[in-house]
């Protein structure tokens, strides 16, 4: 379980708080989605978890342990983050890239242990990237690369690790630049991980997919929580319109009946065109 309790954070030199009293919990066995406009504090939340930004108040805990009492490596052993942007400066073999996920677990010189090999193997299978392991990271398509990155995170936070419980994974906009099929495949993979017991914390702009895949949803607005709860409760036109400052309607999608956001053309707000 990853928990943020009344977290406020401010960047050095910034006029205001980037996060203001944010509370949210990502439970095991669930997909928890964090959405919100650009600059609403989503990425700062991830940085607060990794201690890359210092808190002015509040507490971030993993399984009840305050991350500020842990070393960076200890945090990395407990939760794996797939950052928004990442590109190896020089291409690696996919197998070796996934193995880097074991870095926080190994000693300075430690050769890979049997546990490392098992975690890597399991991560490769779970992410469905067996056919890619011999390829180079610069030879992958966008969709393949995202799956490989998720595999690295799974190797870092394995389902069958030495700790009781399952993986804890945080993803910052993992489906940017992906087409519909690859985007769906990533969401299905994450939902499957949650079903298997992982705590999945997902930062995303894909509200309509959040409505279908997430168990819990938190909407951020200017560093504060504007709404949180089941996606059906959060995805209301009045809330979303205020947060995104754009005219929109929320309807039901015809296939599965999940709440679906439809942004309107700006002219529709003035009533000139439907």
């Amino acid at each position: 379980m990853i928990a943020f309790r009344d977290v406020s954070a401010r960047y050095p030199g910034a006029p205001g708080n980037a996060l203001q009293g944010v509370t949210l919990v990502a439970e095991r066995g669930a997909v928890t989605a964090v959405a919100g406009p650009n600059g609403s504090g989503k990425s700062t939340l991830v940085r607060a978890l990794l201690r890359s930004v210092s808190l002015s108040s509040g507490l971030v805990t993993i399984e009840g342990v305050d991350v500020h009492t842990l070393s960076r490596r200890a945090v990395a052993r407990r939760v794996a983050v797939v950052p928004q942007r990442e590109e190896p400066a020089f291409p690696l073999l996919v197998r070796d890239y996934v193995a880097i996920g074991r870095y926080p677990h190994s000693g300075l010189w430690g050769a890979p242990t049997a546990a490392d090999m098992r975690a890597i193997e399991a991560a490769v299978t779970r992410a469905g990237i067996e056919p890619l392991t011999g390829r180079r990271t610069d030879q992958l398509s966008g969709g393949e690369w995202q799956r490989v990155r998720i595999a690295r995170a799974l190797a870092q936070s394995p389902e069958d690790g030495s700790r009781p419980g399952a993986a804890a994974i945080v993803l910052d906009e993992p489906t940017t630049f992906l087409d519909v099929a690859h985007e769906m495949a990533v969401f299905e993979l994450l939902a499957g991980l949650a079903r298997a017991g992982a705590a999945v914390l997902l930062v995303t702009h894909q509200l309509n997919l959040v409505a279908r895949f997430a168990d819990h949803m938190v909407l951020l607005h200017r560093g504060s929580v504007a709404a949180s709860g089941a996606p059906g409760d959060v995805m209301q036109a009045s809330i979303l319109e205020r947060v995104y400052e754009w005219p929109l309607v929320v309807t039901r999608d015809p296939a599965v009946g999940a709440p679906t956001l439809v942004p309107l053309r700006s002219s529709a707000a003035a009533g000139t065109r439907p």
């Binding site: 890359s52 490596r73 200890a74 590109e87 190896p88 690696l92 070796d96």
Partner: protein
């Protein structure tokens, strides 16, 4: 890299080293070389091999290995294929030290000039680290790169001012030193170079996996539990020690640090630890070979080693590029 390629690289270094000992004003056969190394040749040959040629080959090999390793870890940790020790202020600082020493009349064969060059290099490194630290930019190793380039530019300006009104002999002395040479090799110098190279090299090998993580970018490094800017500064310091030690031992020898890591990568070495070893092997081979060319082509005069490394390295590098493309 396959084990056959590793064996090939080791064999190449041994062969070029044997050649380096054999070639000279008194040409020796490989048989003579082996006998002399074992002390079973005549006294004069043993003296030539043990006191003159072997230290020179050893010095060139160490310089090549150190520069190549320095470049390999800088490229990885700063995520920049153009990174190399000379781009990051080390050569500039060393040159300032050398030029000031020559201007102050320390240009002879003593230890004054190498020490001044080493002090200049270390000074530049400390300046770069201080600037990078002050500039902050949380977790962004690019600040280090910029600080290095700026310190290098400043050093160039200082050199030009110092040389503008210096006597011609001083200018010539400083210029010759800046072109690099293994001609002054002694066992004493080899040992003085080997010590920092061994310490910094061992440290960098130990940090190899950390550098692999750094090469993914600062966000990924943070998610794997590494403070990217701090780790990059540490790697920079160790690689700068390597480069500064070579500068004190043999002057400025460019190009090795930039190109050798790319040659190693083109041979299929991707992870940092094997890359460090491969770069050391290839760098040593390249520099011993370049030194043979430097002292034979225009005999009895010697050509500047730094120019030879570029003359050999550039076509080789272009060939590798073509094979990759």
């Amino acid at each position: 890299m396959r084990s056959r390629t590793w064996l090939l690289a080791i064999a190449a270094l041994i062969m070029v080293s044997a050649l380096g000992i054999a070639v000279g004003p008194t040409p020796l056969s490989l048989h003579d070389v082996v006998l002399a190394l074992m002390g079973r040749a005549d006294a004069a040959t043993v003296a030539i091999v043990r006191a003159i040629r072997l230290p020179r080959v050893a010095l060139a090999a160490l310089v090549g290995a150190a520069l190549a390793v320095s470049g390999a870890v800088l490229q990885g940790s700063l995520r920049n294929p153009l990174a190399e020790p000379y781009l990051l202020g080390v050569s500039g600082g060393a040159a300032v030290g050398a030029v000031l020493a020559v201007s102050a009349g320390l240009g002879g064969s003593g230890v004054g000039l190498p020490l001044a060059a080493f002090a200049g290099a270390v000074g530049a490194v400390v300046l770069v680290l201080t600037i990078a630290r002050a500039a902050g930019a949380r977790g962004d190793p690019r600040v280090l790169l910029m600080a290095g380039v700026i310190v290098g530019a400043f050093a160039n300006a200082v050199i030009m001012v110092a040389l503008a009104n210096a006597p011609v002999s001083a200018v010539r002395g400083a210029t010759w030193w800046m072109m690099g040479s293994a001609a002054d090799a002694t066992w004493e110098r080899v040992v003085w170079l080997a010590l920092p190279v061994a310490v910094a090299g061992a440290a960098l090998l130990t940090w190899g996996r950390e550098i692999d993580v750094l090469a993914l970018g600062e966000d990924a490094a943070a998610s794997l539990g590494i403070d990217a800017s701090r780790a990059a500064r540490r790697v920079y310091f160790a690689s700068a020690v390597l480069a500064a030690a070579t500068v004190a031992a043999a002057g400025l020898i460019g190009f090795v640090g930039l190109v050798v890591p790319h040659i190693a990568r083109a041979a299929g070495v991707r992870q940092q630890r094997p890359l460090i070893v491969a770069a050391a092997l290839i760098g040593a081979t390249l520099l011993v070979g370049a030194d043979i060319v430097a002292r034979t082509v225009a005999r009895p005069a010697e050509l500047p080693l730094g120019a030879i490394t570029a003359l050999i390295g550039v076509p080789f590098f272009l060939l590798q590029l073509r094979r990759l493309g």
